[in-house]
């Protein structure tokens, strides 16, 4: 039950002052929400406005820093007339596709390895140091190597997304599998669960909240992997758009690509949060149904 529900309950009583107080409180809450929303919009407008003004007044170099109106024009041109590489939707879809494939492979590998190592101490002891070493490599430098290995097509971008996604997911799944409540495991075993059932029906469900935490971060990483891969060498994609804009000294193009990516990342984040709400209905935090 949410606290709001609890506080509005007494309204049904005959006590009018109490009811009045509840109404006032609700109004105050609404007003606060409006205030916060308003302040946010104002902040955005102020920052963009300042940027635009300073750039137009040539206080900051408009060639290097561009300005919001130009960025908007660039996005508009891309959407209506397409980019030099083809339509904008195609570029976004290309990048998103690479990131998604990389993310899915990375997540599956991370979860499988994480749970396996979390459950099988022997494996964890043997592989532990190697995983630490691999993790300490700055994996972004692998992107050029992947371009050499897998060529300019999507495969090299998927590969760099996978290596970026794998580790955070792996470590969270591993930790989740390690931190499973021992009582729950003991209880499952007493109730007759085999080792396989314990893994599938106790360890994995209790590790899901750990895993989900990493999913949020790791989708951003997948996008980074795809973009960096495209930036280094590709035939299509938003990363290539950034590289080309940079190559033609089109600062607005670089910013416009960034804005587009931010929107894509936010949409993906929203979808993930929605999925999480559905999956974690059993959690106390989401009990106000």
């Amino acid at each position: 039950m949410s606290p709001e529900a609890a506080t509005t309950l007494p309204v049904t009583g005959t006590d009018t002052t109490k009811a009045g107080r509840a109404v006032t409180r609700a109004r105050a809450a609404r007003r606060r929400k409006l205030l916060i929303g308003g302040a946010r919009v104002l902040l955005l407008v102020a920052v963009l406005g300042l940027w635009e003004a300073l750039s137009r007044a040539a206080v900051i170099d408009p060639f290097n820093f561009s300005m919001p109106s130009k960025i908007w024009d660039q996005i508009w041109t891309w959407t209506t007339h397409g980019t030099a590489l083809g339509s904008l939707g195609e570029q976004v879809w290309f990048t998103l596709h690479e990131a998604l494939v990389g993310w899915i492979i990375g997540v599956i590998a991370g979860v499988v390895f994480g749970i396996a190592l979390g459950r099988i101490t022997f494996l964890a002891d043997v592989l532990g140091p190697y995983i630490k070493v691999l993790n300490s490599i700055p994996r972004i430098v692998l992107a050029p190597i992947f371009v050499i290995w897998f060529g300019l097509g999507p495969a090299s971008k998927v590969a760099s997304a996978v290596v970026l996604v794998f580790f955070p997911v792996f470590f969270n799944a591993f930790q989740g599998a390690r931190e499973v409540d021992r009582n729950l495991v003991a209880n499952a075993r007493i109730l007759g669960a085999s080792d396989r059932r314990v893994t599938l029906q106790v360890v994995i469900p209790s590790a899901t909240s750990w895993i989900f935490t990493s999913l949020h971060v790791s989708f951003g990483f997948a996008l980074i992997g795809a973009i960096v891969g495209e930036y280094i060498g590709a035939t299509k994609g938003v990363g290539l758009l950034v590289a080309q804009s940079q190559g033609t000294f089109n600062a607005a193009g670089v910013y416009a690509a960034m804005v587009i990516l931010a929107v894509v990342a936010l949409l993906a984040e929203g979808l993930l949060t929605f999925a999480e709400r559905r999956i974690f209905r059993w959690k106390p935090a989401d009990s106000d149904s």
Binding site: N183, N187, I190, G192, W282
Partner: protein, 271 residues
């Protein structure tokens, strides 16, 4: 249930030594001899932290004894058997499963078809008075209700041996008395043998046929007391019988000494 008439549970000279994280050895129980007859309700009392719970993990097969033997129905325990039910001190309901699904877990783990498991689970939920709560998740229940779910989830497997590790210690006093009565009712229909670990002497006398007093850790059996109070019992009323008070005094003389030893040790550790 097997046909031989031997004891349900037998521990012969069982010891259990754990390796502590710091590398030392910790003996939880030593040379423990204990016999539980078929259908008998045995309560084990002892000072806090003396190793009572370890006794249960040995009988359940979750842990193996370092030395000695543990027999269930005449057979040495090897791993977790299907005769045993265990109610834990902490909440051990699966938080991501609904109440019904929690109670179905045992039969499902043991390969009972879904429809049959569901029917059995519903029957036990009705018996513990939670029939209308089957779609709830554990976090939506009170502590007492969650304990009822745990009881239903244990009884639904028809255990011959019922192990209980301070199951009601986290509940408030009134709920605890209520749960004790319910436990007795549920148990009286099953003929299961019970080992009930507690640090609450009153609770142990009110419930059990036999009270086993453990020594300060490493635990071993100090003394065994038979409780001749009539059944069926109601916990709240049996507590007021003069016999109850006599037994209480007698056992406390034995238990109190161990509690004092434990406390003095604790004080020495702190000093």
């Amino acid at each position: 249930m097997s046909t031989d008439t031997g004891p349900a549970i037998e521990l012969r000279g069982a010891s259990k030594t754990f390796r502590t994280p710091s590398g030392g050895l910790h003996t939880a129980v030593r040379e423990l001899d204990l016999t539980v007859g078929r259908g008998e309700f045995v309560a084990v009392v002892g000072p806090t932290g003396c190793g009572k719970s370890t006794t249960l993990t040995l009988v359940s097969g979750l842990e193996e004894p370092t030395e000695g033997e543990v027999l269930v129905a005449g057979e040495p325990v090897e791993g977790v058997g299907d005769k045993v039910g265990f109610v834990f001190q902490q909440d051990a309901t699966f938080p991501w499963r609904t109440v019904l699904s929690n109670v179905m877990a045992g039969p499902r783990f043991r390969g009972v078809p879904k429809a049959e498991a569901k029917a059995k689970a519903r029957e036990w939920l009705a018996r513990v008075g939670l029939a209308s709560f089957e779609d709830r998740y554990p976090h939506q229940l009170s502590g007492g209700q969650r304990k009822r779910v745990a009881l239903a989830a244990t009884f639904v497997n028809d255990p011959e041996i019922l192990l209980m590790d301070e199951p009601f210690s986290a509940l408030d006093v009134q709920t605890r008395a209520l749960m004790s009565d319910e436990l007795l009712e549920l148990w009286e229909g099953t003929g299961a043998s019970v080992v009930f670990v507690t640090h609450d002497l009153e609770e142990s006398i009110a419930l059990a046929d036999k009270v086993v007093v453990m020594t300060a850790g490493p635990a071993t059996v100090k003394q065994v007391f038979d409780i001749d109070l009539p059944r069926p019992r109601k916990v709240e009323s049996v507590r007021l019988l003069p016999e109850f008070i006599d037994i209480y005094r007698e056992i406390w003389e034995s238990l109190g000494e161990e509690v004092r030893i434990t406390r003095e040790r604790g004080a020495a550790d702190v000093a």
